[in-house]
Symmetry: C3
Subunit: 273 residues, 3 copies
Amino acid sequence: MDFYVLCDAATHLKMYPVFDVIHYTMMCINVKEDIQKSAAFPFSRHHPLALWFSSMLMCFASQIWLCLLFNTPLASLLNNPHSILIATAVWYAINYTPADIVYRLLSFKLFKLIISLMKEVHRVYGIHAGVLLAYKKFPTQYLLQVVAGLLKGSSYVWMKPFERFVRGYWAPNSNELLQPSFVAKASTVISLLFVLRSAEVIQVEHSVLFSCSMAVLVYLRLSMILLSTKDPFLPFENLICSVIFGGMWDALRRARTEPVNGVVATDTKVKKS
Amino acid sequence: MDFYVLCDAATHLKMYPVFDVIHYTMMCINVKEDIQKSAAFPFSRHHPLALWFSSMLMCFASQIWLCLLFNTPLASLLNNPHSILIATAVWYAINYTPADIVYRLLSFKLFKLIISLMKEVHRVYGIHAGVLLAYKKFPTQYLLQVVAGLLKGSSYVWMKPFERFVRGYWAPNSNELLQPSFVAKASTVISLLFVLRSAEVIQVEHSVLFSCSMAVLVYLRLSMILLSTKDPFLPFENLICSVIFGGMWDALRRARTEPVNGVVATDTKVKKS
Amino acid sequence: MDFYVLCDAATHLKMYPVFDVIHYTMMCINVKEDIQKSAAFPFSRHHPLALWFSSMLMCFASQIWLCLLFNTPLASLLNNPHSILIATAVWYAINYTPADIVYRLLSFKLFKLIISLMKEVHRVYGIHAGVLLAYKKFPTQYLLQVVAGLLKGSSYVWMKPFERFVRGYWAPNSNELLQPSFVAKASTVISLLFVLRSAEVIQVEHSVLFSCSMAVLVYLRLSMILLSTKDPFLPFENLICSVIFGGMWDALRRARTEPVNGVVATDTKVKKS
């Protein structure tokens, strides 16, 4: 099979039934596991309404953020009762099946892996849709296009504080801007690549860029789950922080003001004697 | 007097001066009593501005929510200085009259009853206005119409966390979605009935449905105040929770895993003896 | 030089490069100093992204509030990458220069004074722009015009809770409505004057009103920094509070219920003897 044909095929997957359900599944599991971390009592039994609303907030986070960004009425979110119904069904299956059977099944490593990888495919489609939407409205606003792609790709991590607020759990000292996750960083990079290609800075065919970024994302997620490698952006971040965000200067100052350990030790010894 | 004529009369009450004032009164009292619960010092003396703003948030909550839902500029809220003036006058009367005379008068059971019942009439008008507004904009979006009616009817209970935030009181672990109040549930049901009628699922005349739901709401409120009956939705809720939200399965599991009390008692007795 | 020519000149200053940079500088310093108050560890080293975002929130607060008020898409904030770049450069210079040299320079009383005074000039231009914008859209909505001017002039004080939230610092019991600052009060008064003039209640030339309010604001700020005078609105506020917000009645009640000190002393003496 030709490489280009493969790439082209990768850009024409249908998101609607399967990948969307995967997305909803992952979001509902996300909320459920966040509850298990934060609350001891059976939240799903006592507050089904709050649980439903917070799961929906996570499922439709990307639509909500784009509504706010482009000033579409929030009413338009309710114009698609079909997808709300599907998301509700997924939410019900994950939280209320007897003996928690659906959730336990999905917790098997194999299923977890499949869901995570399909979610990465869904993510690339989301980022592309976001960039395209912004491009159609404002063709020359590159910054806006990057932000739209970023919000589509990692919408749910930005929704987290509000979703938690709905569940009555308020954790102001942890948000995505304080500790950006892998998802947010990867979305930013891929979104940037798409925008650079559409601005003709990068000369590469769309389908190649699309399927390559999909492949890289799937590969990274695979290695993160199977080999539990850490966030691959960390080394770059540390480099950037130490070079441009003052790390170097701080080190220099410490080197000048604080004496080296060994020397201090000698000094104190001398004083003692 | 004919039943239909009565029903028709009930659908043509004028909200503007009297019922709106009643609504503002109830909202200001609501804020004042929430302060008395949460803060000990004389809040109204130290922070008139915050008190005013939070009272206004409650008075115009339904307009604010509909602005957000249908993306009307928030600026349009300020286009009606007349109603802001009236609400301000009410706020002033309730909080700053000498010897708190207005508030004390309104605290008499009789006045409280009248205000509460008139507020229920106002609520039904609000729900109908919300459903109608959504119907005019999106005639086939039934879900949206229900939400609009719900937000109009019980707007202030959803505004509570933000109103409290303005007053410097942040209670993240209590919100309407965690413990839905009677007001929210009743608004949902009535809003749903209006939408079902406009979708021609329920075949009943508008004025009959309108005045009946008004009568039921007034009756329920009356019995809640005079006989202090509890939320009439509770039995249904408990039923739903136990049937579809896992209560039954949990009970079954407990029945299987935990031995029955009596048996345990005998067992331990046997062991002791 | 003629007085009117001077006034006219004062209304035609160019805000774009210099005053805007001053505004950004002051906002970044504001955030930096708020961090120094609230957090002990080197926040700028650990969370550059959150710091950048919160500084930008403060720099572009007035645009954000007007977007929300007039329902312009938030996307339009990103349409001006030029000013975001400048603000980012200012942010970088204040937080990450070696040995904190830029911030230390700007902390000298002289520079602080210059920045503060230029910011007051910038403020008057902002208020005027806000009032004008609202006037063009809704010529007869005076209340809205005052609010728009107020939000443009003191935008950043209203953004403070959200900026703090981004930095993971949540202080719900201090907001601008609970303790209005000098900035908010002065913006309200000037905004009101502009609106009264455009409504032809005050018969004075625009350039005169403009430059006079600028002069007064600069003078007040000067005396606040050099002579550390307190908020000049305080006496009026105390008067208003005691006359119309219940202070007088409370005093009367206390006078009636609590006996005067001297008398009590005598009484108790009598009883003792």
